[in-house]
């Protein structure tokens, strides 16, 4: 006799990734490290932003980069010039970093460097506006970049990424005069779903706005170390 039964599972599909992310964050907290997850579409300017950040803040912070790149070390090579630990993670054919891959990076950080001396780990995710938004890696805050050439409708089309971001950098604003784009409209579109997001307009080329980004970053590190040491 064929009889069917039901079993309740009620488990999130991302349960394993979330547990891994929490585990990574515990390591960061133990070492007094603030971790930020940088996400954007390919070519929005994550790597150049990191270059500017490493150059400008190297006297103020001890930094390391976990670099997600699908198959190459091109980005990692660019960042190594700044004499900070750069841990490349080749994601293979995966389109995002997950907490397990970042755990591998943390392991390397522990083996080859002294994590106790590091203040800030910047994770550069794979360029993609969709998948990285669903996979937490253990970060304390999410930073999204959107370049002005991508168009003001992108937050409406890829809402999860922009809804989750703690800070949004609207990049390449030096190009805005050459484009038919309304910068305020980008901000409005994001605020529809994320009213508290910190929005900073930047250009790595002219360095406009970078100081505001550095200030935000330093505040994150400060606030986080207050939380984790008390």
């Amino acid at each position: 006799m064929h009889q069917t039964f039901n079993a309740a599972i009620e488990l999130n599909l991302l349960h394993a990734n979330q547990e891994g992310a929490n585990h990574n964050r515990t390591h960061f907290d133990e070492w007094g490290i603030t971790c930020l997850n940088l996400m954007s579409s390919p070519g929005a300017g994550k790597t150049v932003l990191l270059e500017k950040t490493l150059a400008a803040l190297q006297d103020k912070l001890s930094m390391a980069v976990i670099e997600g790149d699908m198959t190459t070390e091109l980005d990692a090579d660019r960042l190594r010039q700044y004499n900070v630990p750069v841990i490349p993670i080749n994601t293979g054919r995966s389109c995002h970093l997950d907490s397990k891959m970042v755990a591998g990076g943390i392991h390397t950080l522990k083996q080859e460097y002294d994590p106790e001396t590091i203040d800030l780990v910047l994770v550069e995710n794979v360029g993609n506006l969709v998948c990285p938004a669903e996979f937490e890696v253990g970060e304390h805050a999410k930073v999204a970049l959107l370049s002005v050439t991508e168009g003001e409708d992108k937050p409406l089309k890829y809402p999860v990424m922009f809804q989750e971001a703690d800070c949004l950098l609207i990049s390449k604003i030096d190009l805005a005069p050459y484009l038919d784009i309304d910068l305020e409209r980008i901000a409005q579109n994001v605020r529809q779903m994320n009213p508290d997001v910190k929005i900073i307009y930047v250009s790595a080329q002219t360095e406009v706005g970078l100081n505001l980004w550095f200030d935000w970053l330093l505040t994150q590190v400060q606030n986080n170390s207050l939380v984790t040491t008390t």
Binding site: H2, Q3, T4, F5, N6, A7, A8, I9, E10, L11, N12, L13, L14, H15, A16, N17, R93, S94, C95, H96, D98, V130, C131, A133, E134, F135, L156, K157, P159, V160, Q163, R191, Q192, M193, N194, P195
Partner: protein, 126 residues
């Protein structure tokens, strides 16, 4: 194609459940709940599931996906509304931003249906 990763997570969860059962049951249907405000496309998920479960204990199992709409609650108007994904997320009446999502972020295995009549199955999941 993060649906591939989601499917891998789904298979691993089912494998844990399957192995915890004293008498290996025949899983017939898996019911998922997928919110519209997630980055998961049900059709891609079904396709990935079909391919990735070939020659495993889940081969031929039916994946049933319940789509859950995005519903937000506007605190100014004290009412729920359905944001128009891709167009507008703020409250249609007072234009307050979408702050309180009541549904649409779900991504979970809800329940499974199985029978106790065990067929000859081999699991080669590693």
């Amino acid at each position: 194609m993060h649906e591939t990763d989601m499917t891998k997570a789904l298979i691993l969860t089912m494998k844990d459940w399957y192995e915890s059962q004293p008498e290996k049951p025949q899983i017939e249907k898996i019911h998922l709940i997928v919110g519209q405000f997630t980055c998961v496309e049900p059709i891609s998920l079904k396709f990935a599931f079909e391919i990735q479960t070939r020659n495993t204990f889940l081969e031929g199992v039916e994946l049933i996906i319940k789509d859950v709409p995005l519903i937000a609650f506007c605190h100014s108007c004290q009412q729920e509304y359905k944001p128009q994904i891709g167009l507008q997320y703020s409250c249609p009446d007072c234009k307050s931003p979408m702050e309180d999502i009541r549904s649409g972020r779900e991504l979970k295995i809800d329940h499974i249906e199985y029978s106790s009549l065990k067929k000859q199955v081999t699991s080669n999941l590693s």
